[in-house]
């Protein structure tokens, strides 16, 4: 009989952040994970609230936003299938510093931050492999933000 956890582990394995991890590591991770659905227009999290989960997007689209009194809401980046978001759940003070709004119906894996932190600390082999993957994800995000910050399409006189 296939348990709910096994089904979750199987679908979790399809996400690029998890793909290729050992069965033991995926099982380990599944224990901290649940499925989350966010309706279009709803917020996954808001700036200032407690960052309790790391998210792996399965489908849909999330806008990462900041609100500025003078400029209104600014979309920083949209995140879609196979992306991850929520490093704040792994780093003190565990608070979101942006808003995340679903601009399409979105399905995600939500990995409990406290549970994940505990596992990263308890199993250094898992911790190393998973942190390397997160580092790669963060590196790619940083590269994109650099290009975005250059504002390359602005007309310079």
């Amino acid at each position: 009989m296939v348990t709910e956890l096994q089904t979750l582990a199987r679908s979790l394995r399809e996400h690029s952040l998890v793909k290729g991890l050992s069965d033991g590591h995926v099982d380990f991770l599944s224990g901290c994970t649940k499925n989350v659905r966010v309706a279009q227009g709803r917020f996954l999290f808001r700036e200032g609230s407690s960052a309790d989960e790391l998210y792996l997007v399965r489908s849909g689209k999330i806008a990462l936003e900041v609100h500025d009194g003078a400029r209104g809401t600014i979309v920083l980046e949209t995140i879609g299938a196979d992306d991850a978001l929520g490093w704040a759940a792994l780093n003190p003070p565990y608070r979101w510093n942006i808003d995340a709004q679903a601009i399409e119906p979105t399905l995600l894996f939500a990995i409990n931050g406290a549970c994940l932190r505990q596992k990263l600390d308890a199993d250094h082999s898992f911790g190393y492999v998973f942190t390397r993957r997160l580092m790669n994800e963060i590196h790619e995000r940083l590269e994109r933000l650099r290009l975005q910050a250059l504002d390359v399409y602005r007309v310079r006189s």
Binding site: K61, A63, E65, G72, T73, I74, V75, L76, E77, T78, G80, D82, Q101, I103, E140, E143, R144, L147, Q148, L150, D151, V152, Y153, R154, V155, S157
Partner: protein, 286 residues
């Protein structure tokens, strides 16, 4: 000068330095600072060009500017240019209306290697006004769809208001045999498309890195980042093609204004294989 041109057979370019005078049949505004003009080429029996080539356009008394042809190479009865109004010449072109005359020299330059892409996947990456020089490639690829395997168009621009050719992008996106990704660098909440840079979408596009030709046009920094991403996915640099932009004057490699390292962009470019110019892109003095 008009008499001299009148004596020459319509289909023969009398001299690369002498402009032909063509009337505008249509002028339209695309975005805040981008516009498109169509020129009447019926008197000269059409205007053949290859995707990626450019003309020197001359609004009288204002000087010339090198402008890529943005029309359909399979429809030589229309000569189309999409232009960003940024300087004296392009602003003068923007002020012209239907019936006004434009001096035209060309076509010049090395075109996109569309025949090299036959039988392969084709990835087209455009940034900002860079979609205009690539639109002839897209027209060509769509007109000859069976000649290519997968075709992907990845287009990034500054804001939703800066999107070029939105109706055509929508048409191409509606086709099942094209992958089209459009993204903007900055947006407010009313924009429901992608926000972020083009490089992100390269990795989300289906193509075989070992059997693909990539063609890119946009700001040099964008092309460098995009080329790096293509390389990371396993694409050889010999399969990546880019366009270069420099101040061009004569269009015939005589004046030297567009020298880029050992080459002249007007003659040896504007389309270059990436591995032949990559080492020059980060050289400050070039």
């Amino acid at each position: 000068m008009t008499n001299l041109l009148a004596e020459a057979p319509a289909s023969v370019r009398p001299d690369v330095m002498i402009p032909e005078f063509l009337p505008i049949t249509r002028a339209r505004r695309d975005t805040r600072d981008v516009f498109t003009i169509e020129l009447d080429v019926s008197a000269r029996g059409g205007f053949s060009f290859a995707p990626g080539q450019f003309n020197m356009l001359y609004p009288f008394g204002m000087g010339e500017s090198a402008i890529s042809i943005s029309g359909d190479p399979d429809c030589p009865d229309k000569l189309v240019h999409t232009i960003r109004a940024v300087g004296t010449v392009t602003k003068a072109l923007q002020a012209l209306r239907k019936g006004d005359i434009v001096g035209v020299r060309g076509p010049f330059g090395r075109p996109w290697p569309t025949s090299d892409a036959c039988g392969k996947d084709l990835v087209i990456i455009a940034g900002g006004i860079g979609l205009a020089p690539l639109r002839p490639v897209i027209y060509h690829a769509v007109n000859h769809r069976d000649a290519f395997r997968k075709i992907a168009i990845i287009y990034g621009t500054r804001t939703p208001a800066d999107l070029l050719f939105p109706k055509e992008l929508e048409q191409w996106r509606g086709r099942l045999d094209l992958q089209v990704q459009v993204t903007v660098d900055a947006a407010d909440r009313s924009w429901k498309g992608h926000t972020g840079v083009v490089t992100k979408h390269i990795g989300r596009t289906e193509f075989d890195p070992g059997n693909t030709i990539a063609m890119m046009c946009g700001p040099e920094i964008m092309m460098r980042f995009a080329a790096r991403e293509l390389e990371r996915l396993g694409m050889p640099t010999e399969s990546i093609w880019i366009t270069m932009e420099r101040n061009m004057r004569c269009g015939a490699a005589l004046c030297g204004h567009c020298q880029f390292g050992p080459s002249f962009i007007c003659k040896d470019g504007p389309v270059y294989r990436y591995d032949t110019v990559a080492h020059l892109l980060s050289v400050r003095e070039v």
